[in-house]
């Protein structure tokens, strides 16, 4: 009768929440994901830096979590390239290089390479990205780093299509929704790309485009294609969010989006209800278990500061007892130190919490 009853509710739609929802669903559980919105995906591109894998922690667990995440990303149509030992240098928005271990495929492609000719292609109407600045900076750094990428700057104009200054979000939304626009963009880029083996554009090729679509676009372009990080909003990050949520819905995860979780109803040391502040009246979801992946909102939701975690990463009160026997916290700080905010750490924390939640099926003995 009550359709709002789940085996696991994951609270939070960041990398850790998405991973947790995917992992719990893989284990055959009935899963709900409550997310107010894309959160920090607006800000970052989902890249994982090399140094994230050099931090102390459980390497085997991390490897398992990352392997699962990559499988999920592949299935969601936004595969990641690279690996902890395959780091490569990718351009930052200041035209420096940073060492990245894992990145979505088309960002991974943005390495200017050690051979061949590369053009950075800007858009005239997009004032927050300057292809000349990027090219000048990258050439300077590359020669210092001992490789010679010979990056050139090229520009296209979208002026009859867009009047006046535009943002990457407008370009990306149009890319998703308008086939005609996509082919006009392709035409303009093809001209800019002539004579180059590789072009790099600001990340703007769709908010929801799959790897397959982008590969087709690249094929039609006739040269290698890469996307560069931009000032937020990050199109690459938003694209990850949209692909993942589409995938989770496909595998049966129920999504509750747009409104915040305001309360966790905890009684007899069990969290049985999650309350979402939907307009009109609150939406109450009943659940067997809860994975908390709410980042900095965690202590708000718990109603008090958490004084550490037990072995099943359940939050503890200051008296050392678990706050709820079925509440698992995908948080990174206490186990991984103050630097535990990287993307790889988030994925690992989400995965860990989902595994802990799945393992305690029907067994809530306090730890």
């Amino acid at each position: 009768m009550n359709s709002h009853r789940f085996d696991v509710i994951v609270v939070g739609g960041g990398l850790s929440g998405l991973t947790a929802a995917g992992a719990a669903a893989r284990d055959g559980l009935k899963v709900a994901l409550a997310a107010t919105g894309p959160g920090s995906f607006v800000l970052g591109s989902g890249c994982m830096e090399e140094q994230e894998f050099a931090r102390p922690g459980d390497a085997i667990e991390m490897a398992e979590a990352i392997a699962f995440f990559r499988e999920m990303a592949q299935a969601a149509g936004c595969p990641f390239e690279g690996g902890p030992s395959e780091a490569r240098l990718l351009p930052t928005i200041l035209g420096d290089f940073e060492s990245v271990a894992l990145a979505p495929r088309f960002l991974w492609n943005a390495n200017p390479g050690t051979s061949g000719s590369t053009a950075i292609v800007g858009v005239k109407e997009l004032s927050t990205f300057d292809e000349n600045f990027m090219a000048e900076r990258l050439n300077e750094h590359a020669s210092r780093l001992g490789f010679n990428p010979a990056v050139r700057a090229r520009q296209i104009s979208l002026s009859p299509i867009f009047a006046g200054p535009i943002t990457t979000v407008r370009i990306a939304a149009r890319f998703d929704s308008d086939k005609g626009f996509r082919s006009e963009l392709l035409g303009a880029l093809r001209i800019a790309a002539s004579g180059f083996e590789r072009i790099l554009v600001p990340a703007m090729l769709g908010l929801n485009s799959s790897e397959e679509e982008l590969a087709q676009f690249e094929h039609a372009l006739g040269c290698s294609l890469g996307e560069l990080s931009t000032l937020p909003p990050s199109i690459a990050g938003l694209r990850l969010f949209h692909r993942f949520r589409g995938y989770l819905r496909e595998i049966g995860v129920e999504l509750f989006e747009g409104f915040p979780v305001v309360t966790l109803n905890i009684g007899d040391a069990l969290c049985t209800e999650v309350v979402i502040a939907s307009p009109g009246h609150p939406l109450i979801l009943r659940t067997e278990r809860v994975v908390l992946a709410a980042g900095q909102h965690t202590s708000e939701l718990l109603g008090r500061a958490c004084a550490g975690h037990d072995e099943q990463i359940r939050p503890l009160t200051s008296a050392g007892t678990v706050m709820a026997a079925n509440l698992f916290d995908a948080e990174t700080d206490s186990r991984d130190g103050p630097e535990g905010s990287g993307n790889a750490m988030q994925i690992c924390a989400g995965y860990r919490a989902a595994i802990a939640a799945a393992a305690t099926r029907g067994n809530y003995a306090a730890g």
Binding site: I93, S127, R137, L231
Partner: protein
């Protein structure tokens, strides 16, 4: 070699005021500043245009001086002043006898004031504490300090006055017992230049002591650090003062979209390397909370410190220079030290900067044998915007954007508007808090203004870009690209400028440990430099 009658050292309100006053009197003058405009105490204060209420109980002369200057500035520089008025609130913790003393003194000083009940006060300022006993009104106002200094310099430049920013004086040349010139180094290029002159005016504020030392004389200055906090929104519409003997954390000044709470008062050894301590910040917030509950948990955008350079002769008999008032001191080094042509001006307040400049210029006139009278109390600092420019702006820009542009640039706005007319895409906003268009960015970076910006922070002082919650994270990047695209910087220099600018912005937020501004700071550091986050070491002072 450049030659002039007077060299002024120090581009704060006082130095800029002297440059303008001399230029009006027809005396040629050059102003040297080691940084950009308002680099010292002027740029690091509340921006409070005092009505005199703060000093009225203890120092009636200073209070009267403030009141007179308050009226003059509102008349000659309306574009720099937000005439919002102020309140002195009576808190139950404070001495009721002081309220009565204050009320009587205000009458004696002639400061217009009304006595309000607690309810009346809260009707004007609903955020005031429910505990207050009452309040008095006063004609306090907010003054945009950067705009004020700019206005003085630009008015002077129009009459032949000269200004060299980033020019640090390295020697003062004496000859036959009098100053003949100064040598300075451009700290951006490293080039050294010399200027021949008849007189040197030391208006270097916190640096007055080291400037005097270049001429082999002494100016005893006591540096008193004040820390201030910028809060993310206007917590009041008026200046809120606590009605008690002046102490820490008892003034809140609404400034544009934000407000500024201050200040502390701590003796320091010099004006450089100041750091706001966590204890100071906590204390200010707690004190602010007494007047306006909730301030203690308000979002703090940044903390900054300045020094009040107080004139502190070890024994007054040792001072031969004439002391003008308790507020400021004019030291004639000819009578005091036998150094002809050298004058130091120290102490004083932002509100009385024009009066200080007047006193210095009267003295200069006498020494140079020039018959002249001060006119800075009557001549407007800037002429009103013309109708054509106003209509043109209204046609091309939305009302708030046009209004901000006009108030910042006055008649010069026409240049920006012409640029937008020619290239409409330049109307795009680079800074969304202060509504700075791309065209205005290019204008302040270009050479058609008499005071071009050399750094991104300079752009901030001219436009307020980066003063809002993002603290330059987004608008600073756009400013960097504008500097690159207009040819002011090559790519690597642009990136260095931006990174220097960000580091300075981060320093002001280093104490933030939680809340929205902490997220903002993390975002900024994550975007631009994850590996080298600014370490916060609260309590570590350079003292």
């Amino acid at each position: 070699m450049e030659s002039t009658q007077v060299v002024i050292i120090g581009g704060g309100a006082t130095g800029a005021g002297i440059l303008w006053d001399l230029s009006l009197r027809g005396i040629s003058a050059t102003l040297l500043e080691q940084g950009d405009i308002a680099n010292g105490a002027t740029g690091r204060c509340h921006g409070l245009l005092h009505s005199g209420g703060r000093y009225v109980v203890k120092d009636l002369d200073t209070a009267r001086g403030c009141l007179a200057e308050n009226r003059i500035l509102k008349a000659i520089a309306p574009h720099c002043v937000e005439d919002i008025g102020g309140l002195f609130v009576q808190c139950p913790q404070d001495d009721p006898a002081f309220f009565e003393k204050w009320w009587r003194a205000v009458g004696n000083a002639g400061i217009p004031s009304r006595r309000l009940t607690a309810d009346e006060a809260r009707e004007l300022e609903p955020n005031l504490s429910a505990d207050i006993l009452g309040a008095f009104t006063c004609p306090d106002a907010h003054v945009d300090v950067f705009r004020l200094v700019l206005a003085n310099i630009q008015a002077a430049q129009a009459r032949g006055g000269r200004f060299h920013p980033y020019s640090k004086v390295i020697s003062i040349r004496p000859e036959d017992g009098r100053v003949r010139g100064v040598r300075y180094r451009n700290i951006r290029t490293g080039d050294e230049e010399e200027i021949a002159c008849d007189m040197v005016i030391n208006a270097a504020g916190g640096w007055a002591q080291s400037v005097a030392a270049l001429a082999g004389v002494e100016v005893p200055v006591l540096c008193d650090k004040g820390t201030l906090l910028v809060l993310s929104h206007r917590a009041s519409n008026r200046v809120i003062n606590r009605c008690r003997a002046p102490a820490d954390g008892d003034i809140l000044v609404p400034a544009g979209p934000a407000c500024i709470l201050g200040t502390s008062s701590i003796n320091v050894s010099g004006p450089d390397g100041l750091v706001a301590s966590r204890a100071e910040i906590e204390n200010l917030l707690q004190l602010g909370d007494v007047m306006i509950p909730g301030l203690a948990t308000a979002r703090v955008l940044r903390a900054f410190c300045g020094v009040r350079a107080l004139y502190a002769p070890q024994e007054s008999s040792a001072v031969a220079g004439r002391e003008i008032s308790r507020g400021f001191a004019l030291i004639d080094h000819e009578t005091k030290d036998g150094a002809r042509g050298l004058i130091s001006i120290v102490g004083g307040k932002l509100t009385t900067y024009r009066r200080m400049a007047e006193a210095v210029c009267d003295c200069i006139s006498k020494k140079l044998g020039v018959e002249s009278e001060c006119a800075t109390d009557k001549v407007p600092l800037r002429s009103a915007i013309d109708r054509r420019t106003h209509r043109h702006a209204a046609r091309l820009l939305s009302q708030p954007v046009a209004a901000k542009l006009e108030i910042r640039l006055g008649r010069e706005a026409s240049r920006v508007i012409d640029a937008i007319e020619a290239r409409p895409e330049l109307a795009e906003l680079a800074c969304e808090c202060e509504l700075v268009t791309r065209a205005e960015l290019e204008y302040v970076l270009g050479n058609s203004t008499s005071l071009p910006a050399h750094t991104i922070a300079d752009i901030g002082r001219r436009t307020r870009l980066g003063f809002g919650p993002c603290q330059g994270t987004f608008c600073g990047y756009k400013a960097m690209l504008a500097g690159y695209e207009t040819g002011r910087w090559r790519a690597s220099q642009a990136a260095t400028e931006f990174s220097d600018y960000l580091r300075e912005r981060w320093k002001g937020q280093a104490f933030v440990q939680e809340g929205k501004q902490f997220e903002q700071l993390e975002l900024s550091q994550g975007l631009y430099d994850e590996d080298r986050p600014v370490s916060a070491h609260p309590g570590e002072e350079n003292e």
